[in-house]
Subunit: 152 residues, 2 copies
């Protein structure tokens, strides 16, 4: 089990793309959300699949459990989903102090939405704020992936 | 992914115990139930843990996905459960034609309840009915483990 401490922002503009590579294609869906545990199936680049369980504790810090699963299982589990299937491309950009930004560019129903996340070691850890960051949306349920999946 | 085809019965009497060994102690809880996927965490004999996802398709046949997980994860996941934690002892008894009965003797809130299940290769497969079988409860939602966990 890991503990995930993240801050999340909208992204304003494309300046971040200079440091970004090809990114990876992500398809993900939820088997459960809105209860005490959120259960996600994710397929990366059509090749690797992972089952993730996160506690629904609100705020910055959540327990997270990740298990690699066979790709064929993942496809069948996605068919059991509640809500829709999110499609996005994820770009990873190095940040100071060994941190990194993960930038998700959504496709499909949420095309045009772009979110940046940074994972921290502690909730009050300082980090540089790039120019291309927009408003912070940490803890805003509208921008939870589980919420976005409900309308995907 | 396996497909699970089961028939379930109440158990009348103790005659089955002659062929039963020690059984194994099971603790299990649900991270989600009532939706399209039922997600269960089970710990056997305090030593082995498994995460199981079953489709919520009604009737005899359900898709089932099982993943072994670390025991420490299982304990933390059980803490995230919805509903209660079921406690039971499972006894396995050989039946004809390579089949077997699994008899669950519940403890705790459901003490006194005893259910027998047989897993079949097809929904219409014939099998011998031992004298100690009570009423069939296949498909009866009152006897789903997920239902029992809600009131455990």
């Amino acid at each position: 089990m890991a503990r995930e401490i993240e801050r999340k922002f909208l992204v304003a503009g494309d300046a971040w793309r200079r440091a970004a590579g090809e990114g990876q294609r992500i398809r993900q869906a939820y088997l459960a959300s809105g209860g005490p545990a959120e259960i996600r199936v994710r397929i990366c680049d059509g090749a690797r699949a992972v089952l993730t369980i996160k506690s629904a504790a609100p705020g910055l810090s959540r327990a997270e459990f990740e298990y690699p699963i066979p790709l064929a299982d993942a496809e069948e589990l996605i068919a059991l989903r509640t809500g829709g299937c999110l499609e996005k491309r994820r770009f990873t950009i190095p940040a100071d102090a060994g941190l990194r930004w993960e930038i998700d560019v959504f496709a499909g129903t949420h095309q045009g939405l772009c979110l940046a996340e940074i994972e921290l070691a502690s909730p009050d850890q300082a980090f540089a704020m790039p120019d291309w960051l927009g408003a912070e949306v940490t803890g805003d349920p509208r921008y939870y992936n589980a919420t976005l999946a409900r309308t995907a």
